[in-house]
């Protein structure tokens, strides 16, 4: 469950801008989705290997060269699917919540 959410968030972050690992980490940390950074690297590598992401090297003024990740077409497709199912899920959850609260009222 959480893995799916994390992957969804990674794709979502990348759909706005290309980013390198630390950017993604910072966003995820802000929204308290991850605690330790080590978690991210296996996920990124897996997504890249399944063709959702591509990366390019960019020199950095401070530190080692950075791996900038970008969504591939396949990744964009997949993100759309995820959006759809995420919304469906939310609707489903909401409708259950609403129904049960209506029941409670009556």
């Amino acid at each position: 469950m959480r893995k799916g959410v994390l992957e969804y968030c990674i794709l979502s972050i990348l759909s706005k801008n290309d980013a390198y690992a630390t950017d993604i980490i910072n966003e995820l940390k802000e929204s308290k989705l991850i605690v330790v950074e080590g978690t991210l690297y296996p996920l990124l590598t897996r997504q890249k290997n399944s063709g959702l992401l591509s990366y390019r090297w960019e020199e950095s003024t401070q530190g080692p060269p950075r791996k900038y990740y970008a969504l591939t077409d396949k990744g964009r497709e997949f993100l759309k699917e995820l959006h759809k199912s995420w919304n469906e899920l939310i609707e489903a959850v909401n409708s259950i919540n609403n129904r049960s609260s209506e029941k409670n009222k009556s």
Binding site: M1, R2, K3, A21, T22, V35, V36, E37, G38, T39, Y41, P42, L43, L44, T45, R46, N49, Q62, G63, P64, P65, K67
Partner: protein, 526 residues
């Protein structure tokens, strides 16, 4: 003052305090053992390393150029330990497996402990290795020195080859995880558990038809099982090497330098040992023999010590300059072998040529046609046994007492051109040159006595022990004139070497019989 270690992380150089380095290394090891089995493992590891490099860069500046242990701990807190990572497959946190692996990395290594040292710190180091008090090891060493006298030698070997724990990290390693006998058992059990785990994983992956290749898993598990067996076997081989090596050294030392066996137990059959030097003193100078035994000892002991060292290395893990040690050993060994060969060639040249000297003497005439010949029944030689007359098939043998060495003679019967009985004593010896070989023949002495019509031969020629043995031999030839008889006593049987005209296979049968010389031929008369 603190020692720093320079490392290269994702192409960027950092200076780390030694403790920081150790901590980082352990951390990265734990990461790599967490991911290395995965297909994309290497990529993940290098991504993580490059992130760590990035964090380190924010930690150094003009004033602070060295990464401290605190920085490393910060990084670990940010990145998280492998056990805090979510499993990429199941997203379940793995609570303990990773940490166990992490701590197991800190295996103990054998060092010499300079802080608690009395001599070289070997005992203190061993104590730290086994997690016991140094005095126990010291007491054991001292007590065991009585039955196993080579313990001081082993101590010195360890002193030379085991490194001293100088840095903080080495001292930590020295006191790392316990490696006692019960822990070895535990480790093996743990590894066995690990194998069992893997077997389970194979089953699960079959049941759930995970994408992971089942064959791969099976090979992985087989590999683990083989690894465990291999480790046990290595351990056993190590112990065997040490025991065999120590036994060999003790045996060698006994034979080479002491009059008695060094072993606390008696051997069967009981061996009466002489030091080599004493045993071969009749061959060469005592000095040369001592030198020879020492070199021979080196030539045999160096490979044996290498065996012990190998055994120790199989059981204890420690860093040592194997190359230098091996090279020194090899050079010493080659030197002793070359020296040995040179000495052997030199000694051997003492036997290069043969010299022979014959002395003939006519017997005093006596009133009989028959000469009676027998060997002296009771020669004045310590260690002489009469049974040798009845059973000694040996072509030659040597006996010795305090002052002399005795060698068996050969007896020949020949035709004489003369009219009288004649005894010819042929003395032979080896020597470096013709002349020295001739001179050496003078060193042996031989006696016979004539008593009317009887001739009594000494069965042995003798040689003073002060004179070097140059393979001497003595042949006694009795020349019998035409028309005379000679009666050979039974006790001449094993001395008879040649009777003219009698086939060699029948020579021994002439003992106890009378020979007749008639028409220029020797025949057995009834």
């Amino acid at each position: 003052m603190k020692k720093t270690i320079k490392i290269n992380l994702s192409g960027i150089v950092f200076n780390l305090d030694e403790d920081a380095y150790q901590e980082l290394k352990n951390y990265l090891d734990s990461i790599s053992s967490r991911f290395r089995d995965m297909e994309e493992g290497n990529e993940i590891i290098s991504d993580i390393e490059s992130r760590i490099a990035e964090i380190f860069q924010t930690k150094v500046n003009e004033k602070k150029q060295v990464i401290t242990i605190k920085d490393v701990n910060d990084v670990i807190a940010i990145m998280g330990r492998p056990e805090d990572f979510y499993d990429a497959e199941t997203m379940e946190a793995e609570p303990s497996a990773g940490r166990e692996e992490y701590s197991r990395k800190r295996q103990r290594k054998l060092y010499r402990d300079p802080d608690n040292a009395i001599l070289g710190g070997v005992a203190a180091g061993l104590a730290a290795y086994f997690g016991i008090e140094p005095w126990i090891i010291r007491l054991l060493l001292v007590i065991l020195t009585f039955p196993i006298q080579v313990i001081p030698i082993i101590y010195i070997i360890l002193w030379i080859v085991v490194p001293k724990a100088e840095t903080a990290a080495q001292k930590l390693e020295m006191r790392g995880e316990k490696v006692t006998v019960s822990n070895i058992e535990k480790t093996i059990k743990e590894e066995y558990e690990g194998v069992k785990e893997n077997v389970k994983r194979v089953k699960q992956s079959k049941e759930y038809k995970k994408t992971r290749n089942v064959l791969d898993e099976i090979f992985h598990v087989l590999g683990q099982i083989i690894l465990v067996f291999f480790k046990i076997i290595l351990f056993i081989i190590g112990i065997a090497f040490i025991i065999a090596g120590i036994t060999a050294i003790m045996g060698l030392t006994s034979v080479f330098f002491f009059r008695h066996a060094l072993f606390p137990i008696d051997f069967w059959p009981p061996v009466h040992l002489y030091p080599l030097g004493e045993m071969f003193s009749f061959l060469s100078d005592p000095g040369a023999i001592t030198l020879f035994s020492f070199t021979l000892f080196m030539a045999i002991a160096i490979p044996v010590i290498a065996l012990i060292y190998g055994g120790i290395k199989l059981i204890f893990k420690f860093k040592a300059n194997d190359k230098a040690i091996g090279l020194t050993g090899l050079v010493l060994w080659l030197l002793s072998v070359i020296f040995l060969v040179t000495m052997l060639v030199y000694e051997g040249s003492n036997y290069a040529t043969t010299g022979q000297k014959s002395e003939g003497e006519f017997l005093t005439p006596f009133d009989s046609d028959t000469l009676s010949l027998y060997m002296h029944n009771d020669p004045d030689i310590k260690g002489f046994r009469k049974e040798w007359y009845d059973e000694d098939e040996d072509a030659w043998h040597v006996i010795s007492d305090e002052s002399k060495i005795y060698g068996k003679i050969d007896l020949d019967i020949e035709l004489s051109d003369d009219e009288q009985f004649e005894v010819v004593v042929k003395k032979m010896s080896q020597g470096r040159t013709r002349i020295s070989a001739m001179v050496n023949t003078e060193n042996t002495s031989y006696r016979y006595t004539q008593n009317g019509a009887t001739l009594i031969l000494d069965p042995y020629f003798s040689l003073s022990k002060a004179i070097k043995w140059r393979s001497p031999a003595t042949e006694v030839v009795l020349k019998v004139p035409e028309g005379k008889y000679v009666h050979l006593d039974k006790n001449t049987k094993y001395f008879l070497d040649d009777v003219e005209g009698i086939p060699y296979s029948k020579v021994h049968q002439t003992a106890g019989k009378t020979l007749q010389v008639k028409n220029g031929e020797i025949t057995i008369s009834d």
